[in-house]
Symmetry: C3
Subunit: 211 residues, 3 copies
């Protein structure tokens, strides 16, 4: 049950990350081609970095193009809607809520995915490595998006985002090592990400900074 | 005949990409060392990313330093000319025309090269992968150049550039799979890139954007 | 004796590079989490790129977390001191001197390390490759730091920095190939980096630039 849940969360995450890439590209006044490229980069970049780090070459995004196709479809539908109506067929508040939930589910799915990519590559006994892989898969696409859009990566500012991914990755790795039950580890890790993101936004959590 | 043509196009592309890297570095007020580093990065970065993606490590640029040497020579000759004369020994119009043709031949050569690097790595049956490798080899160096110069990558703006590379890569891959004739695939792919770039500039083609 | 010296220099370099990452993050108004992430990226990023280039996956920073731990400890101590006192418990002049020496020892250690990582991966006979690996290990972390902080990499501007790394890497590689004595090669390469940096700062050396 949970592994099919993860497939659905991956789908939702790919759509959400493609939307966030396309939105940044539109804000930067890129044309439809740039919108597609940034959507694909945001949706697949984290997994690509992860695969290069564990030596799984070519990365899975090149062998199974379905995630690239989902990102391209998403970017073009969004572009067409914005191009023809000049606005989304949703109130802004509902749109932001939807994007928050898509993005949060995507972060949870990609973080958990990254941990299990490490487990499948026979690194299940290296908690530090697999947690890092989870975080890179979760936040890497967004970091590449911002670097290519010539902005400071939001993961350094939107702090609870990366913290939620770190916590979820560690929880996933720990539960996997203790229970050896994939379903339990997936559920615990994903719920950690979701709960932290939800609570952080609801309570306006902030980490200290110097100035 | 065609494979020696490709070697010449690679040479021309390396020179063109080194020039574009050196020009950006000079505009950013880097010193002669920065000019050299950005020229090398622009000329060899796309192939380096491609090799890492297909797991060909160390990348060929480290094993055969001739392309780095060509880039360094180009950058220093350009630097010396600009430093001593404060201008190029060409009218600006001729200079821009030359750079356009160098850059276009380079894009064509690098795109086709990338596709065949995938074929040589036994991925000839994966059209999606080899087309992606062609595009990355063609536009990756320029993207790295802009990221290191702290600018938004021109490939997201100068759209017909990346579109020409995508079309050329797909044509190369398709002709290779259909005819299994390297010469035909190389010629068809390279001509696609060149024709698209030439027509796009001549007719001021533009892709839609939101604002 | 020298290999234990290198371990100490690596330690010093990790601390110095973590400090420089944390300082840039603080200047960019990142919170404590961003400060940690940028410190880790600066301290370990060069070695990560090097390992990916020679196909040593997963990179050693993921298998031996001690350098990540040193970087995290350094970043948090610095953050706490700055947070509680709003100033360092040193005069600014002494602080800058200390940072210069830390940074220079770190550059020397990482450059020499990179060369020997190439030697260990059976590439000792390829001088061009191992010199490149040394430079990437030495300056790669700082380049990633600046790219993630949305600034132009200092290695393109602070020129004697990268030049010192290139010279040190070539000297290390040459001495290794001529003498086959690791201690001699390490000492010669590290001293080259340190001497060049010291002399360049003392005499305000500058390379030519166009404007």
């Amino acid at each position: 049950m949970f592994s099919s849940l993860i497939v659905w969360m991956d789908f939702v995450g790919t759509v959400a990350f493609a939307i966030s890439g396309a939105m940044v590209a539109a804000r930067k006044n890129m044309d439809i081609f740039g919108v597609n490229m940034l959507a694909v980069l945001t949706a697949t970049g984290g997994g690509m970095i992860r695969d290069i780090i564990i030596g799984r070459t070519p990365p899975v995004m090149f062998l199974n193009p379905s995630y690239v196709l989902i990102a391209v479809l998403t970017a073009n539908i969004l572009f067409l809607v914005l191009y023809s109506r000049k606005s989304l067929p949703l109130s802004q508040r509902v749109g932001e809520q939807l994007l928050f939930w898509f993005d949060t589910l995507g972060l949870a799915a990609f973080t958990v995915d990254g941990v299990f990519a490490g487990v499948q590559a026979q690194h299940g006994d290296k908690l530090f490595l697999i947690a890092f892989l989870g975080v890179m898969t979760g936040v890497g696409g967004g970091a590449l998006r911002d670097i290519f859009a010539d902005e400071m990566p939001q993961i350094f500012v939107k702090h609870v985002y990366a913290v939620a991914s770190v916590a979820g990755a560690v929880v996933t790795g720990l539960f996997w090592r203790i229970t050896a039950e994939e379903n339990i580890a997936v559920a615990a890790g994903a719920l950690t990400v979701i709960a932290l993101r939800y609570e952080a936004v609801r309570h306006h959590w902030n980490l200290p900074r110097l100035r």
